[in-house]
Subunit: 102 residues, 4 copies
């Protein structure tokens, strides 16, 4: 579970930072509503997932499953937008880690 | 959706306030680990659900479903602990509202 | 304090919703990095302020003061960007309410 | 700033985990209202501080300052309660790191 908490915190940090700095500064496809929303939603769900694991919630597996789906959707969107390889990798790695918790 | 956002915000406020003031001050069964954790987890998930609806996330239905389960578990725990009727009602009402979003 | 909690929750909802739906869909000045960041920061600080008041934290006055500053900066930015009167009013009202808590 | 973000995330994880698992399971002084509230408030403010640094908010210095105060109060409370050395150290280290950002 330690690994999965770390993956969620890392993915939260990456998505929030990229959304509010890189994407906003790049503009164009990077601020397309669906993409930026996904980035912010993914960041928030990673935070919630981490918090549910940290507090040993019986619902953590359920939250991790949706978190994995958010990460996969975010990775896909980052690939389509381009220039976001680091974010793609963090999301894919977090998705894998979250699926292992379900 | 407006009603459901309001229900989530109300339930978040109720659970967070009751957990950190009433339950901690009462002690005894009110600070039993499973109960207090459920109260805090329910508060956090209600907040996340509200945020996903506010940002029109395509995952909001999925988050609302887990939120409904957290609210139902929290209502049950509050009933067993006793002296928490207001919280039971808020959780049941939020659970119903969240299920309508799924 | 009840009024101030309500003002923070209302302002959080308004800023998060406007940032992730209206602003992203409008584009142009509405997605200018400083503006959108302020909207998201204001939303988050309003949430934290509400949570500190709900849990009766001795630090709530300190958090409310920064929240008031975030709301004032956000109101100003919304005025400059234009077409955001509702958000301006919510931010000004929350700033006033938060200042009364300090 | 990277170090300070990491310190906040580490302190958030430590305080949330200890509050919702160790403290609740120990009971007694560990669930004394002032102590547990401080733990939860400290965890939340560390999260908000991290998010404000990650999103490059102009208000991050202000938020870091209150975060440092919350961490110092939490470290003191953990020392008085006892058996919480790890948490004391994490809070002191985060307080120092946050003060450097102000």
């Amino acid at each position: 579970m330690q690994d999965s908490i770390k993956a969620c915190l890392d993915c939260h940090s990456m998505c929030l930072r990229m959304a509010t700095t890189f994407c906003l500064e790049q503009g164009g496809r990077h601020v397309e509503p669906k993409h930026l929303r996904l980035m912010l939603n993914c960041a928030e769900l990673c935070q919630t997932s981490a918090n549910f694991m940290l507090s040993d919630s019986p619902l953590h597996g359920r939250v991790c499953l949706i978190c994995a789906e958010a990460c996969e959707a975010c990775a896909k969107s980052c690939e389509q937008v381009g220039d976001m390889r680091e974010c793609v990798e963090e999301c894919q790695s977090c998705a894998k880690s979250c699926r292992a918790m379900t």
